[in-house]
């Protein structure tokens, strides 16, 4: 029996997160009650920061891609960059979580946050159908609990819905994996790709795997859990989910499809394109009539899944680059927007609908401007990275000969403006409820500022970011 060589360095981001999670959990027991919150918060924050650093280091040191533990995981820049994004998102989400949850399970909350992020980071590197399934369940189960951790009815409802639908999705993914295993006898992605068994069993497995991945990325028509869960979950959790889940789901999807199913490229590119169109259509249309801001953002995230599926459908190095780039500002904007909602929620003491935003732009100038910028970023207007992201996504689609997808994307953007600007309208053009003094939210402000910096910075500093994305995308076998 040979104990496998373990590349601890490559796993360091995961280990850092697991450590911080364990510490937070221990803190829930060992640290005196008054100190639990700052302790857990601090430990988690440090954990994310450390993981972020490690991930960056892994990125730098991984010019040569390689496998970890019998190729259960890949150590490459694709993984590392996704890990960086997840850790960054997690760090911001931690900041937003300050004062959350209101129940006594503070340590557990932060521990779960860390552990969920660890699972996501792991999943970004997973390169084996088994580790993929496990990774998915790892962070999903953590998220199910996080949804319900506040104990509110909506949270419980969201948690249960998420659990049942998520398990159903996982089961489909699992069965698909079994079919692919049956067709090829392999679980490892590259090995599957190398087994030229482009037969019915393989495509059948691919179909089910696509459904599972589409579900995680909340692509229509597998998106229906998204609005309910995003709305019901505690806002910081929603923020984290919207950014990080989508990141890993898409990054993973790209890896799986490109690595394991190169022969079936015609199948999945067409499917992804169709999913993209459906997501764009349904997400944008449904968002038009939303009043609850979190729900509106949830539908917006569905439509953004559509936008990010466009480079996926391109199946090219440019597409990979486009996806990774898109994820950076998207994650920042998403967390930032939910952070602002969280701040408003705490100020008003109730869920925020559009009326709840009325006049906020004037009362809370910083948060108002920030939310404005995030909305513009979502809409893909210049001066935000959202614009460059869309540009790259469209470029990739055109490059892959899918001009029609560009047109669809453009039309969808036009529709989306209506509700993004609706938020801005609420912020600035309505008279709000008489605003009291804002609770001091330095952490949320810091998170928003960070998100803002990334959102705007990714517009001006495209070159360095796109180089990162290019190096990362170069590791996938296109």
């Amino acid at each position: 029996m040979t104990t496998p060589q373990i590349d601890w360095f490559a796993l360091s981001p995961i280990l850092a997160l697991l450590s911080s999670g364990s510490l937070a959990l221990l803190g829930a027991v060992l640290v005196p009650a008054g100190w639990r919150r700052p302790f857990a918060f601090g430990v988690t924050g440090i954990g994310f920061a450390t993981a972020f650093g490690f991930a960056a280091a892994v990125f730098r040191e991984s010019e040569q891609a390689g496998g970890i533990v019998a190729d259960a995981m890949r150590r490459d820049r694709w993984y590392a960059l996704a890990a960086v994004i997840v850790c960054g998102a997690g760090f911001l989400a931690t900041l937003v979580s300050w004062r959350e949850p209101e129940s006594e399970h503070v340590g557990e909350y932060y521990a779960l946050l860390s552990v969920a992020a660890a699972g996501m980071v792991f999943l970004a590197g997973a390169s084996n159908l088994m580790t993929i399934f496990l990774g998915l369940e790892w962070f999903s189960i953590a998220l199910y609990i996080l949804c319900a951790v506040g104990g509110a009815a909506a949270g419980l409802e969201a948690g249960l819905k998420y659990l049942i639908i998520g398990s159903f999705g996982s089961a489909i993914l699992l069965f698909g994996s079994a079919l692919v295993y049956g067709a090829t006898g392999e679980l490892q992605l590259e090995a599957i790709g190398a087994t030229a068994a482009g037969d019915r069993l393989t495509v059948a497995g691919l179909a089910l795997i696509l459904v599972g991945l589409g579900f995680k990325a909340s692509a229509a028509p597998f998106h229906m859990w998204t609005p309910d869960v995003y709305q019901g979950a505690p806002t910081p959790v929603t923020a984290f989910m919207s950014a990080a889940t989508k990141t890993v789901a898409l990054v993973l999807a790209y890896r799986v499809l490109v690595t394991a199913f190169p022969q079936e490229e015609g199948f999945w590119t067409a499917t992804i394109a169709a999913l993209a169109v459906a997501s764009l259509a349904i997400g944008n249309l449904a968002a038009l009539v939303q009043r609850d801001v979190k729900r509106l953002l949830a539908y917006s995230s569905v439509s953004h899944a559509g936008f990010m599926l466009i480079p996926l459908a391109a199946a090219s190095p440019l597409g990979g680059r486009a996806l990774l780039f898109y994820l950076i500002p998207y994650s920042a904007m998403s967390i930032g927007a939910f952070a602002v909602v969280a701040a408003r929620e705490r100020e008003l003491g109730r869920p925020v609908d559009l009326d709840g935003l009325a006049g906020m732009g004037w009362e809370r100038p910083f948060l108002g401007v920030a939310l404005w910028v995030f909305m513009l970023g979502f809409a893909g207007l210049p001066l935000t990275g959202g614009f460059v992201g869309k540009l790259y996504a469209f470029s990739a689609a055109y490059d892959a000969g899918m001009l029609w997808l560009v047109i669809v994307g453009v039309v969808a953007t036009a529709v989306s403006l209506y509700y993004y600007l609706g938020v801005v309208r609420a912020l600035y053009m309505r008279v709000g409820p008489a605003g009291g003094s804002s609770p001091r939210e330095p952490m949320v402000h810091a998170a928003v500022a960070g998100a803002l910096a990334v959102t705007v910075g990714s517009f001006f500093g495209v070159q360095p970011l796109i180089e990162l994305a290019r190096d990362a995308a170069a590791t996938l076998p296109f």
Partner: protein, 177 residues
């Protein structure tokens, strides 16, 4: 066809029908308690199928872990909440039930069709396996070498679930005060 083969076929038949029958029972009983019990039958018959497939360790684990632990937990919860009747097919619009049946049947049929189409091909050529295939030793070796990560992750997932169970269970007690 020798006698051993016929015996296996018979066992397979019994186990497979028990398995499907109990599965149908799970989803048709109005009382969750009976459903949970049916699940035990389902798991047991599955274990037999696993044995036929030379997966001894898995079969054992199935009976011990699943039937022994998971379903018991179910039963506790059901007992705790009281057995509320729940009629299948009830509630929701008719089209929903029709669509549900259609979708499930379609999925099922499609998979079966795929398998059937492949049946004469690759699926009819099982490998010859060594002695000890599916035994605890082989499983243990795989878990600690190639699938070390899977093993670790499984434990993490279980830990997370445990924490979750504690939080969700304990939480409401506090709320009740």
């Amino acid at each position: 066809m020798d006698a051993g083969n016929i015996l296996v076929w018979i066992v397979w038949f019994v186990a497979a029908f028990a398995c499907l029958g109990s599965a149908i029972a799970v989803i048709t009983f109005t009382n969750p308690f009976y459903s949970a019990l049916s699940l035990i039958a389902n798991l047991g018959s599955l274990a037999v199928l696993y044995l036929l497939l030379s997966a001894e360790f898995v079969a054992a684990a199935q009976v011990l872990v699943y039937a022994g632990a998971v379903v018991v937990m179910f039963l506790f919860v059901i007992a705790y909440l009281g057995g509320r009747a729940d009629v299948p097919w009830a509630g929701g619009p008719t089209w929903q039930a029709v669509a549900a049946a259609t979708a499930s049947a379609a999925l099922l049929l499609e998979i079966v069709v795929v398998i059937a189409l492949k049946a004469g091909d690759r699926l009819s050529d099982p490998a010859t396996v060594r002695e000890g295939f599916g035994g605890p030793q082989q499983i243990g070796r795989l878990f600690l070498s190639d699938h070390l990560l899977a093993f670790e992750i499984t434990s993490i997932v279980l830990l997370v679930a445990a924490v979750g169970g504690v939080i969700l269970g304990a939480h409401s007690r506090e709320r009740a005060d």
